[in-house]
Amino acid sequence: MYWRHMFLDITISGLISGSVYALLAIGFSLIFGVARIVNIAHTAFYMVAGYCIYYVSHEMGLHPIWGMFAAVILVTALGMVCYKFLINPIREHEGAVLIATIALAMALQEIMTIMFTGTYLSVPSLVKGYFVIVGVKVFYQQLLTFIVALIVLGALWVLLMKTRLGLAIRSTAQDKEVANLMGINEARVAMMTMGISVGLASFTGAIVVPLTILDPLMWMHPLIMMMAVVILGGLGSLKGSFIGAYILGFAEAIVVFALPAGAFLKGSVALSIMILVLLIRPEGLFGVTFEEER
């Protein structure tokens, strides 16, 4: 009985955190692929989306679903504005972009702290209630989060593989100069990609926030895991990010539920897995070895 419990707990937790990491990691690797920007502020946008929902549902008293819409639209706009005025002017300087995004994440964290204080907050779930399988409560919200995450991942796949915008994004990621010569407006594609990437981050925040607790530092852990996923799966590979996310999500879940003091070790074990994989395959599981840019 105990083992079956644990198995189910691990499955649920692994699937949910895996989907969250997959959504975050794909957004992160999209903007890295297209514009070579390591966007440290990626998960900060995810945090802002969470607070946005809190504001709409608590302070304005509307149904959280409106909060989700508001969050995705506002945060995407915020992301594009930040890109336009902060990141785009210094894009040639790799180090400067890095620091600018770190500073942006810090600034967002501080603004949220000032507006909502640093205390732990929670957001009501969209659907109430739960069902029971072999003695383990499964909340409808968890099920919803997982299904919606899969739907969004599918939609993203269609966008990237079947539309002209997707084609432009993929070709810019492959070779910026040639894409430019083929008449693709590289600056506009980068802007659109930033929008999609931040939109994904805010959407992730919107669907996961009812399951977790809001605090201004909540962006740190997902940031690290997201980077580990991207590296594990191979930079620029969407399939790799997808599979890597579930590997690390399940690794975390197993460590948390199966080991004593697991909550402390979950990050360590997941990151150690990443390093072990890198020792065997330096370009990640499905990494595309980029042409060395000389």
């Binding site: 180090g95 810090m106 590296i231 360590s268 990151l271 990443m274 390093i275 020792l279």
Partner: protein, 346 residues
């Protein structure tokens, strides 16, 4: 007596011909005098404490620059060296009862070991892969620290470490002296043949390999050197704060080091040191504005980077000095002819 007069005259000549002519050298001398005379002007414990910490972090930022600025191996997990240095110095001091002058260098050596351990797997990686992988190491170590609280003190850290000296003025002088000494050593390293190879590795690793140089060995050497200096900074920090806690391993610590170094300008050594001396006291100075402190800090960073993406100090230096096109000697930009070869400066 004649000897003293001779050396005095030599000093005056050097100051007149080599220091006064270049504003950047004047700034370095003024900075040195400022550090030397600070305890004369203020006996405020708080100010001295801030500047002691500033000196310690200046060593840390410069050591990041030695590794990442010069060889281009961007290290996002520099807190690992700092934390390993701090924890091992603390443990050596506490369990083996070795006084600070022994435990701090030993902590540095343990950090060298950490540099080897993470350097060997990481050298197969390049660019962004390397940067994001190195981020993982301090977090792994932090997980271990929390998982074995008997040995490491867990969340509270290791306390009860001996202080370096009782007086805060002496503490300050030790930190400032070490900062000057170690940063000069780092600067000398980057100025030597090894430093030139480091530069070359950043610019074009393939070409360096083609020239018959074992780049892996040099990169590993950069990891170890940087680890040593960062470990010493960590040991100093542990002995100064008298606690080695998990905050030394935090992600924000790693980020802070990168912020300092890039803000000041990478691959210069003096840039990160200067940046720490601006940014760290600035953060303390903004303390009266507690709520908005970090926000202001972030805004200052963003604004400065928007206007000088190469870093503050290289930008300033380019403004006030020009290089002679013929003999490559630097001149103050108000001159119209070179001070050595009298070629026209444009």
């Amino acid at each position: 007596m004649d000897l003293i007069r001779f050396y005095l005259r030599k000093l005056v000549t050097i100051v007149k011909n080599e220091v006064i002519v270049l504003p950047s050298r004047v700034v370095v001398v003024v900075f040195f005098l400022f550090l030397l005379l600070l305890p004369v002007f203020t006996s405020n414990q708080y100010t001295l404490r801030i500047f002691t910490l500033t000196c310690i972090f200046a060593i840390l930022a410069a050591s990041w620059d030695l590794l990442s600025g010069f060889t281009g191996q961007i290290n996002f997990g520099h807190a690992l060296f700092f934390g390993v240095g701090a924890y091992s110095a603390a443990m050596i001091n506490l369990h083996a009862h070795i006084p600070p002058w022994g435990s701090i260098p030993l902590g540095g050596l343990v950090a060298v070991l950490a540099g080897l351990i993470i350097g060997i797997p990481c050298l197969r990686l390049k660019g962004t892969y390397l940067a994001l992988t190195t981020l993982a190491f301090p977090i792994i170590l932090m997980g271990l620290v929390f998982a074995f609280p008997d040995l490491t003190g867990g969340e509270l850290g290791i306390s009860g470490i001996k202080r370096i000296t009782r007086s805060s003025v002496t503490n300050y002088y030790i930190a400032a002296g070490l900062m000057f000494g170690l940063c000069s050593i780092m600067w000398k390293i980057t100025d030597s043949n090894t430093g030139i190879i480091f530069h070359a590795i950043r610019e074009d690793e393939l070409a360096v390999r083609a020239a018959g140089i074992n780049t892996t060995r040099y990169k590993l050497m950069a990891f170890c050197l940087s680890g040593f200096f960062a470990g010493i900074a960590g040991g100093l920090y542990a002995h100064f704060m008298r606690i080695a806690g998990p905050s030394t391993l935090e992600v924000s610590m790693s980020f802070l080091v990168v912020i300092w170094a890039v803000f000041g300008g990478v691959a210069t050594i003096y840039g990160p040191v200067g940046a720490v001396f601006i940014l760290f006291p600035l953060l303390e100075f903004l303390r009266f504005w507690q709520e908005y402190r970090t926000l202001m800090f972030a805004c200052v960073l963003i604004v400065v980077l928007l206007y000088m993406p190469d870093g503050l100090f290289p930008w300033l230096r380019d403004k006030i000095e020009t290089e002679c096109p013929r003999c490559k000697i630097r001149n103050i930009s108000s001159r119209t002819t070179c001070r050595v070869c009298t070629a026209r400066l444009d």
